[in-house]
Amino acid sequence: MQETPDLKPPLALPELILETRALSIFYGANEAVKKVSLPIPQRRITAIIGPSGCGKSTLLRAFNRMNEFLAEVRMAGEVRYRGRNLYAPDVDPVEVRARIGMVFQKPNPFPKSIFQNVAWAPAINGLAAKRELPELVETSLRQANLWDEVKDRLDASGLSLSGGQQQRLCIARALAMKPEIILMDEPASALDPISTARIEDLLFELKERYTIVIVTHNMQQAARVSDYTAFMDLGVMVEFGETDQVFTRPREQRTEDYVTGRFG
């Protein structure tokens, strides 16, 4: 267990695989994330909740250096992966993204076959030889609970699947890279309730082997699925703690207002 000196009061957490320390992210002059110190414990699900525009997606994208593709983004503070600065000059962002996977809000499968969707990234990263790909694809699709539905039509286009299936395909695609951490940016917000429920079940299964950070505006989802919850508002991390505590015995008034639905 680790102490987290930045949090008040300090919390005893399992080993941290990721953390931010006084991280600020600026879009031009706008400070979207304000001095956030967020610990991400290993092999747990950490949810980041908060009203629209509070900076949670921006914070999430800092973990796999995806903010770099946006113009005029500046950062202050640190993001650490296993204690090492993720933004050090000798760190290759391509390698970071190969180890920290991401699932986006709107499913974005490639306009290629289902097989190619899952196999492409491991192939170009040199992680799997050509003959190992079929097995890797099957394993990943099974882990994403999609194998039974697509095993007879792996050559079909990824776009021919339903929305929920496409999202599970994107999850399989991320899993095929065997990442340690998976970042999920509102993965079920574009899906119907049944697909959402299937993805939430999937998260419980994945938790045993992967660390998951999930941004969601659906509080019930955060309460159901996560071990730890961070509540953000207007760029500031208002509270962080075990999910149970944050939702039933919040320390901050703003947290209580949000989780009881008084605003947001």
């Binding site: 995806m66 490639f110 990234a121």
Partner: protein, 291 residues
């Protein structure tokens, strides 16, 4: 439906009439354009069809209309398209990829973009002058089909770049981001995802640009393409002529028979264009089927 049943919509009938008027007006304009093209084709077809035979395709030009043919012009045009495509397509696509995928917004990029847009509008004869000075004389290529192709490449390069860029812009960013979030480099995301998705649009742009190049006579005349040759090019450094030049040459003669030959030449030119378009459609179809 009387007005009393729906008192809030008194102008419904008038709006429907206006909509019908607009629809019919646009249809009329469209069919007018099509009709003009059809009339043109029919006239050319009627005039030239009689002269179109195997002998026409395999003979050289001659003083005697009955023996004249487009062999040298057709060969020259085919050489020209081939070489022009060879130079302009890779450079054009590479420039579009650089501008759209790798360059960062800034003064340099804006300067390049403005220049390309301007060059796209420069009259083709100016490119002829440039080709004469730089390729024919400067690089000492003479009046060769190579010099002609290089000149034409410069002519159509701006439009290829613009069309290819638009095609790349139309590919959603989510595709590239999805690829890069999996640990791909930007080039891998472009090469495996953005470029294949943009291919139909890029092909259309290439075909349109090459079609323009085929029909241009002025720049070729400027660099010295001949109008009466009795040989086909054996290599890129040979002298040449092209279909538009031959057609123009025949059309400007007083004898009516040569006008018929000119019309037949136009039909051959149109056939070449049709084949190019068909090739583009075939490539597009195959690339869409693969994904």
């Amino acid at each position: 439906m009387s007005d009393a049943a729906w008192p809030g919509l008194p102008s419904l009938a008038r709006r429907h009439r206006r909509a019908a008027l607009a629809r019919r007006g646009f249809a009329l304009l469209t069919w007018l354009g099509v009709a003009l093209l059809a009339v043109l084709l029919l006239r050319v077809g009627r005039q030239g069809f009689a002269w179109l035979d195997w002998g026409f395709l395999t003979s050289f030009p001659s003083r005697f209309p009955a023996q004249a043919g487009v062999l040298s012009a057709l060969a020259g045009t085919l050489w020209l398209i081939g070489l022009t495509a060879l130079f302009s397509v890779p450079i054009g696509i590479a420039a579009a990829i650089y501008l759209e995928e790798f360059s960062r917004p800034g003064r340099l990029r804006s300067a390049i973009e403005v220049n390309i847009a301007n060059l796209a509008g420069v009259p083709s004869i100016v490119y002829g002058l440039l080709g004469l000075a730089f390729f024919v004389r400067g690089l000492n290529l003479g009046r060769s089909v190579l010099a002609g192709a290089l000149t034409m490449s410069l002519l159509i390069l701006p439009t290829i770049i613009i069309a290819a860029r638009e095609a790349l812009k139309a590919v959603p960013q989510s595709l590239r981001q999805g690829a890069m979030a999996l640990g791909a480099t930007r080039w891998q995301a472009v090469r495996h995802h953005a470029l294949p998705s943009a291919l139909p649009g890029i092909l259309t742009g290439i075909i349109l640009s090459l079609s323009r190049a085929i029909g241009e006579a002025a720049p070729l005349i400027m660099i010295g393409a001949l109008t009466y040759i009795a040989f086909t090019p054996d290599g890129p450094l040979d002298d040449f002529t092209a279909l538009p030049i031959q057609i123009y040459n025949w059309a400007s003669r007083p004898q009516k028979d040569f006008h018929g030959l000119a019309a037949a030449g136009i039909l051959v030119l149109l056939a070449v264009l049709l084949l190019m378009n068909a090739a583009a459609v075939a490539i597009r179809y195959r690339s869409q089927r693969k994904s």
